[in-house]
Amino acid sequence: MIAAAPTARYEHLAELVRDGTSRFADRIAFTTCLPNGMHGSLSYGQLERLSDAFAAYLRDVLRVEPGTRVAVQTPNCLAYPVVACGVFKAGCVLVNINPLYTPAEMEHRFRDSGTEVLVIVDMFADKLEEILSQTAIRQVVVSEVTEFFSAVPRAVIRSVMRVWDRVLPRMRVSHLRLKSALELGAEALTGDGKSVAAYIDGQGPATLAVLQYTGGTTGVGKGAMLTHGNLIANFEQSYAMVQSHIDEGKECVLTALPLYHSFAFQINLLCFFAVGARSVLVPNPRPVQNLQRAFDNYPITWVTGVNTLFNALLNEEWFTAFPPKHLKAAVAGGAALQRVVAERWESVTGSAIAEGYGLTEASPVVSFNPLSGLRKPNSIGVPLPRTELRLVDDTGRDVTAGEPGELLVRGPQVMQGYWNMPDETAAALSDGWLRTGDIATVDEDGYYRIVDRKTDLIIVSGFNVYPTEVEDVIARMDEVQEVAVVGVRDAKTGEAVRAFIVRNGHLTAEAVREHCRQYLADYKVPKSVEFRREMPRNQIGKILRRHLRPAELN
């Protein structure tokens, strides 16, 4: 089946949701699978009813206006799709919040976005106590990881969480349980024959759909404004790259990455939903042992992940000895997919793994290695349909062929700007071109390769040093478990290379430098080496180099 070139089938995410729930009503849409195998599921039909109820709760019970920001702060669980789809149907704006944020980070996100309604998982709701009064939140709705589980497994899990794990804090802020909110919403709907479809009257592709915060855990977070048109365009573009491996209504995708992150949000929540897949949600994939029962109990055909996840799976005997039989393909994003991991994955599972590239500001997918075509290792592939890429130098001029330059993106998936940040928006967007801050090269086949983050570039006596190149060399040493390379100030050379290493054996700084001298020009060899017990990481496991740099250089 060859589909036509992607055209905008939907105008609004509520339409995408409605189309999915009506075409696949009897199929299971989402299943939460816990490490011990306990599970709960929702069918597409149930999801339609519940998300209608949540939309009605927002618009007819709370009586919020269209465009109101509704934040969701839960790990992967059945509450997430119900709330997200309900927010779209209500014509409100979804704000994705990482559940692991500190109260200070939460306060910033809530205040910056002007969030009025918050859906938060009970495990972390105690963090609200000190900050709630500083925000514009007028209703807190509390959900749980076991949302929509049947009674006995729910009771068992919740008593284990309460008594043994002690992760269910006492709720001191006034709140409503999601279940009650949905009941109120359902009543409001039956009452006066209101139509949920009317909530989005006057909205369209240009309407803001999601505020997706970026900028990590330090500094000021920026809310990327993604419209319905942005997200739908990116769904169709991404779908075009994978449709050769998709049977509508038959796929089963493992969702181990958090849905509040732009990658899983687009691919797992939107793409696989629109094709009638069953998505197996794993609330906490660490340790990766937690995924064993998901692979045992469900015929997983697709996996989305980041390098660290694939790497961790390949270190598990239960995975490598009996790789998932039905697996068709895996897609990697978020951070560079290491070549050795990609090769091992394909040889163990016998199925393809394709690396893509994206950023929150582009909804997020920009480029992909086509699943049915040439896939190049260490490459982020080719641009998606209707996506233009350019490589420019510091003055904004296109670089000559083969030279590295900053990657710029233009396409229907590029955000409208940063929420309430005109200066930041102007710095990132001009003439529709989005500056990615990544330095890339392109080869003669049109395949792009990320060289490094522009801000991570180290300039030693006027020479450019790309940290990734140095890291790749150091990572070849067996005693090196992980490595990150950053620039530090140096009196003689301006900047100097410093390597941070987590070792798994005996290793000295001099041995590292000696090893580097065999492969690297002198100015690239680390001037100093520091050993660490662990690396600072972000929410999906990417090493944060900026946390390793001395503060004055950030």
Partner: protein, 311 residues
């Protein structure tokens, strides 16, 4: 010792625990255990090679009197007990491997145990007529295998039911172990007060040194650390009810009481030492799981290196 009612109650609880253990497993877990079947053979080697020899060595070193010597050698020659599976489970060990080792060592016990007993007791000039009643062994196996298979089936049928039974089984396991630990000093105060230090050393040492040697042998024979820890627990934990049964069937009157001393003491202390070792192993396994998450993938020679990955 326990009263008849307590013994029966314990039997029921063991069945519930094994049902829970089974419900924590899938058939695939057993396939993974069978990927390295030498683990089961190494378990046998530990069980019937190391343990009886270790018991014999302790007898020599401590110069135990004949009745105690027979008791210790008898305990050393026993197959693995059901409790080893419970401890394997709580230590996050290789439960499927542990269960397979217990089944196999119990099966062959009918033949190996009499031979070993005659050999080692003969060395000390204490030969007697030993017999392992096949009916009792069959019963042991049934109590082990039937609930396990039912548990596996329940998990396969519905993971929610399976996981619930697993938690119930685990909870009963904790309660039983805690009950044994808390009550055994007051219940056995007279016995403990009148027992000489050498007998203590023998009864405690057999289990602990057995675990140590089992771990070393498994590691020396290239078992990975988690399998080695499972084999270690399996080696150290003997089936003491079976040992006591054989004593009762073989000896009578006062001699029976004297021979029983070591199995009884062993049974008391093994719960204590296994609990400590299990908590220790559990911590190690958890740390290893977290470390494996981070570890680099071993470079595997796949396909022609160089050119693009193309399928």
């Amino acid at each position: 010792m326990l009263t008849d009612l307590e013994t029966q109650l314990l039997g029921v609880m063991i069945a519930v625990i094994m049902l829970g253990m089974g419900a924590s497993l899938t058939f695939k877990d057993f396939l993974i255990a069978f990927r390295k079947p030498q683990g089961i053979l190494i378990g046998l080697l530990c069980q019937y090679g190391i343990m009886p020899f270790l018991a014999y060595l302790i007898v020599i070193v401590l110069g135990l009197e004949p009745a105690l010597a027979i008791g210790l050698i008898l305990m050393g020659s026993m197959p693995g007990g059901t409790t080893s599976n419970i401890f394997a489970y709580f230590s996050k060990g290789f439960l499927a491997l542990s269960i397979m080792m217990t089944i196999v060592s119990t099966l062959v016990a009918v033949v190996t145990v009499p031979i070993l007993l005659e050999f080692y007791s003969g060395l000390r000039g204490l030969s007697g007529q030993y017999e392992v009643p096949a009916g009792d062994v069959a019963q042991l196996l049934a109590v082990l295998i039937v609930p396990t298979i039912v548990g596996i089936g329940l998990r396969k049928w519905n993971p929610n039911v399976g996981a619930t039974i697993e938690l119930v089984g685990g909870l009963v396991g904790v309660v039983v172990i805690a009950f044994l630990i808390v009550t055994w000093v007051p219940r056995n105060y007279d016995l403990l007060a009148s027992t000489p230090a050498g007998v203590y050393a023998a009864a405690i040492g057999l289990g602990l040194v057995g675990m140590l040697l089992g771990y070393w042998l498994a590691r020396a024979l290239r078992q990975d650390k988690r399998r080695a820890r499972t084999i270690s627990l399996e080696t150290g934990i003997q089936n003491s009810p079976l040992g006591a049964l054989i004593v009762v069937l073989t000896f009578s009157d006062e001699l029976q009481q004297q021979v029983l001393l070591v199995p009884v003491l062993y049974a008391l202390f093994i719960v204590l030492s296994s609990t400590a070792v299990t908590l220790w192993f559990r911590g190690i396994t958890t740390r290893e799981q977290m470390a494996r998450d981070q570890a680099k993938v071993a470079t595997a020679p796949v396909g022609p290196s160089g050119g693009p990955v193309h399928r």
